[in-house]
């Protein structure tokens, strides 16, 4: 358990940035905190780094309590590495000086630190840029210097605050692979902050969805997509519609639901009980079928490899999202079969 958060809170004025949050992050895990802006995810990272004090609760790193009532270990004594959104490269030092700094801070001489730093710089393919200034590098190169500096600190815990947010979209995909390789190389427990669900899905072992200072759900990316706990996670991740329904019968791993008086479906469920419930219908749960329910196309948009239509079926409270291999015109009638769905956790 290399990062343990126990009931931590942080308030600004009257609002909770982080609200009584608990979680444990296993050693070596790539753990992503995903949430909309203002949900408190950066504050959480800063609390773990020691850059922000706790109002309540405690934090342990490698089973050593570093923050708690009456205790606040300074960031420089925590041994965590941080990759900042702005990269925070020191403009007055050359690239090698930036990477060598943590080694020097650990007590090495300046010359020894630079030799050692060179090794880390080579591991991110920037060996020939050692004497450049950060200002002379491209965004992607700066990012890699920040990673090399993190490697040089030999930290077993690495915190990353939206490190890809400042990159051009075409660079981001390349840097995602770089991140995966970095994590494999360093083997460090990684706490990664992002608002981009695609990034979170691509990189993580575990994803925590955060809202208003709390974790809504912690799960592996595919579980999060296929088996969300609640309506917020269901609508925040992926596409689809959440509908009110009535569970009429249950079986292990599945449930029969009534969506409207003339529409019954069978959906996957963890533990469903008879009574009111919410069901998530993703585009994959619906397919075209001439003998299916008829629906009216409201709008249709191209999504790169398919068309996505919003379709009103009967008197359902919300239009459904359907993937189509062709462009449908508004007001066109489609026939849909329901092949699945996911019953959200009932209260």
């Amino acid at each position: 358990m290399s990062i343990t958060l126990s009931n931590i809170s942080r308030r600004y004025g009257g609002t909770h940035a982080v609200d009584n949050l608990s979680a444990t992050i296993p050693t070596g895990c790539f753990f992503t905190v995903l949430g909309p802006s203002g949900c408190g995810k950066s504050t959480l990272l800063r609390m773990v780094a020691g850059l922000e004090p706790l109002d309540e609760g405690s934090i342990a790193l490698h089973r050593r309590t570093v923050a708690g009532p009456g205790l606040h270990l300074a960031p420089e004594a925590r041994g965590v590495g941080v990759v900042f959104q702005s990269y925070a490269l020191w403009p007055h030092m050359d690239v090698l000086g930036n990477v060598a700094f943590p080694i020097e801070a650990a007590g090495a001489s300046r010359a020894a630190a630079r030799t050692e730093a060179n090794r880390h710089l080579q591991s991110v393919d920037l060996g020939s840029f050692a004497n450049r200034r950060p200002a002379d590098l491209s965004g992607g190169q700066r990012q890699r210097v920040a990673l090399a500096r993190c490697l040089a600190a030999q930290a077993r815990i690495v915190l990353m605050d939206e490190p890809l947010a400042n990159l051009d979209p075409h660079l981001r995909a390349a840097m995602e692979e770089e991140m995966t390789a970095f994590h494999a190389r360093a083997g460090a427990t990684t706490l990664f902050i992002t608002h981009d669900q695609r990034e979170a899905m691509a990189l993580s072992d575990l994803v925590a969805v955060m809202r208003q200072g709390r974790f809504e759900q912690i799960a592996a990316p595919q579980d999060l997509h296929d088996r969300p706990d609640n309506a917020f996670v269901a609508s925040f991740i992926g596409r689809g519609a959440v509908l009110d329904a009535e569970v009429t019968a249950t079986a292990p791993g599945r449930a029969t639901l009534r969506l409207s008086s003339d529409l019954h479906i069978v959906a996957r469920a963890l533990t469903a009980k008879v009574g009111p419930a919410q069901v998530l219908l993703r585009p994959g749960d619906l397919r075209l079928d001439p003998s299916g329910q008829s629906g009216l196309v409201l709008s249709c948009a191209y999504r790169g490899d398919h068309w996505e239509a919003r379709v009103q079926v009967g008197k359902l409270a919300r239009p459904l999202t359907v993937s189509l291999p062709y462009r449908a015109s508004p007001m066109e009638t489609l026939h849909l079969a329901f092949s699945g769905g996911w019953v959200l956790r009932q209260d």
Partner: protein, 593 residues
């Protein structure tokens, strides 16, 4: 920590995560002493310096004014019922109020013209306007006296000199006010330029597309929005004029227009330290006026900053069209008349054998320059003293400002904020109040050491540090504010402790701004006369006091020669600063941006 040998990036799951119940508390990592040796130690040093520079001297004035025998209400009512004090206080208020008003008219006009139009050479114009502030008041007064007096070499050549024997027209209330106003023009100009830079451009553009011409735009949009800036500029100019000593001393004494600082100086010069209790009362009086004015100004600028929140944009550039060359020529002519012509008059005085002899090819002499540089020991000493004191004050202020700036970003910022406030107060109160405070506080031998600072260089240096710290704090504050806080945090999480961060991260990044602050302080210290006018003794003469005493004693040619050298040195320092500032964020070098 060694790299792990186990296979990396395991699939981790939520299921195998029991919350451990054996979270050990971290061992106490720091003993009390090791913890203290970081920020608290630096804070302690800064607070000690602040106590010595601000609390002890200003406290000594207050104690003497309020709690000495015969002090308190009695002393204040006695002072206020004294005829000459009443008159001097009135003269101070009147001259400062009128001079500030004139400065707002001229400085405000220049600010609007240069800040809002597509006029060329803005930096050069600003530099020339700043010269009005950088040339010290006593030198300005001497130069204008020589340009407009009956012995004026310049007017004699033009055949327009007043008849010999007539009084210099500047020896009057009007003369004092006019020259005070001239000195405050740059202060208003800078305030207005800063406000115009923050003026959201789309406000003006919205008015233009609504059909407003330039005049309607100025009258209905820009001037109302700039109102608070004008008021702030007025308050700053008022406070600065209130504390001025060089102009009223050189023009007001012969013109029988004595202001309060001049009265205080006269009393100390004629009676010596026995009148310190009286002076403490007068110092408290005028200090209170200055502090109230600055307090009002701070409230105004706070209101202003609320009114003018908007993204940084390209500033507005109204096109002058065909009038542009004429406006530019007019501006440069005006600045030539205000800045260059008096300097030429002074140069003319410096190169004639005796004051009053007409300047011609056969009368030119460089004897006076030779005399002040090589012959007179007192002038050589003054140059050395002023250069040394200015250098020491610059370095001292920059060091203190760096420490204050670094602490302001840390967890102990509350403790150091009071230091910045004290520095602002010391900067606002008239220089004579600071020097009297230093005499009162340090004339008695220091405890333990048993030596008195009075009559040493140290007391003058202390007064410089006290009065000029605010000048050095501003650029450092601007530079720290412009710095990404993540740079500091990155150093922290890299394992760097407080001193390493200060030395390796803060210092190199802030150094250019701190150095600019140091040069600004050096300029101020090199040119000042107010503080040293009553702190100097034989051996610790400064440039300002020697120029002042030469002029006062009728040695105008020597005073002019020294002034010319000091102005050239000032110009050289300003050019150094100009070069320093090329990569600095705007707001640090006054005439840039």
């Amino acid at each position: 920590m060694k790299p792990q040998t186990r296979p990396v990036s395991p699939k981790c799951s939520v299921a195998d995560q029991p919350v451990p119940d054996d979270l050990r508390a971290a061992p106490a990592r720091w003993s009390g002493l090791r913890h203290f040796a970081k920020e608290p130690l630096l804070l302690a040093i800064v607070v000690l310096a602040a106590v010595a520079l601000f609390v002890v001297p200003l406290g000594a004035v207050g104690r003497l004014a309020f709690f000495a025998t015969g002090g308190g209400v009695e002393a204040f009512s006695a002072a206020l019922s004294n005829r000459s004090v009443q008159r001097a206080l009135w003269h101070s208020l009147e001259s400062a109020a009128l001079a500030a008003a004139l400065a707002v008219l001229l400085g405000g006009g220049l600010g609007l013209l240069i800040g809002l139009t597509d006029i060329r050479g803005r930096v050069a114009l600003s530099f020339a306007i700043l010269m009005l502030l950088m040339i010290p008041p006593h030198v300005t007064a001497i130069a204008w006296m020589q340009m407009l007096g009956p012995s004026s070499v310049l007017l004699q050549m033009l055949g327009a000199a007043p008849p010999l024997g007539s009084t210099n027209p500047l020896y009057s209330r009007e003369g004092v006010i006019a020259l005070l106003a001239l000195q405050q023009v740059p202060i208003v100009y800078l305030t207005l330029r800063a406000a115009l830079r923050a003026f959201p451009r789309d406000l003006a553009e919205a008015a233009r597309v609504s059909g407003a011409g330039p005049w309607l735009l100025l009258r209905r949009v820009i001037l109302p929005v700039m109102g608070p800036a004008f008021l702030a500029g007025y308050a700053l100019a008022f406070v600065s004029a209130l504390g001025n000593f060089g102009v009223p001393a050189l023009l007001g004494i012969p013109g029988r227009y004595v202001t309060l600082p001049v009265l205080m100086w006269q009393r100390l010069a004629s009676s010596g330290p026995s009148v310190l209790a009286d002076l403490a009362v007068l110092a408290t009086l005028i200090g209170a006026v200055a502090v109230v004015a600055v307090w009002g100004q701070m409230r105004l600028s706070r209101a202003m900053s609320v009114a003018l929140i908007g993204a940084a944009q390209q500033p507005l550039r109204l096109r002058l069209g065909r009038a542009r060359p004429f406006v530019e020529a007019g501006l440069w002519t005006l600045l030539m008349l205000l800045v260059v012509a008096p300097m030429l008059a002074m140069l003319a005085t410096a190169v004639v054998p005796t004051y009053g002899v007409p300047l011609g090819p056969d009368t030119v002499t460089f004897r006076h320059f030779h005399e002040v540089i090589f012959t007179q020991s007192v002038t050589a000493r003054a140059f050395a003293n002023s250069a040394g004191l200015a250098l020491a004050a610059g370095i001292g202020v920059a060091t203190l400002a760096l420490a204050v700036g670094a602490l302001l970003r840390g967890p102990l910022s509350a403790g150091v904020r009071s230091v910045t406030m004290l520095a602002e107060i010391a900067y606002a109160v008239p220089g004579l109040v600071i020097s009297i405070a230093f005499i009162i506080a340090f004339i008695k031998p220091l405890p333990v050491l048993g030596i008195s600072l009075y009559g040493t260089h140290a007391i003058i240096l202390g007064a410089y540090l006290s009065a000029f710290l605010a000048i050095g704090l501003k650029p450092v504050g601007v530079a720290f504010a412009a710095l990404d806080p993540a740079l500091q945090e990155a150093a922290r999480v890299s394992g760097a402790g407080f001193w390493r961060r200060l030395w390796r991260i803060d210092l190199p990044l802030i150094a250019p701004a701190a150095a600019s602050g140091a040069v600004l302080v050096m300029l101020t210290a090199w040119n000042e006369v107010t503080l040293s006018s009553i702190l100097w003794t034989r051996g610790t003469e400064t440039l300002g006091t020697v120029i002042f005493n030469y002029e006062d004693g009728g040695y105008s040619t020597l005073a002019s020669a020294m002034s010319i050298i000091s102005v050239l040195a000032t110009l050289a320092l300003m050019l150094v600063l100009h070069w320093f500032g090329r990569n600095l964020p705007p707001g640090i070098i006054p005439w840039r941006g």
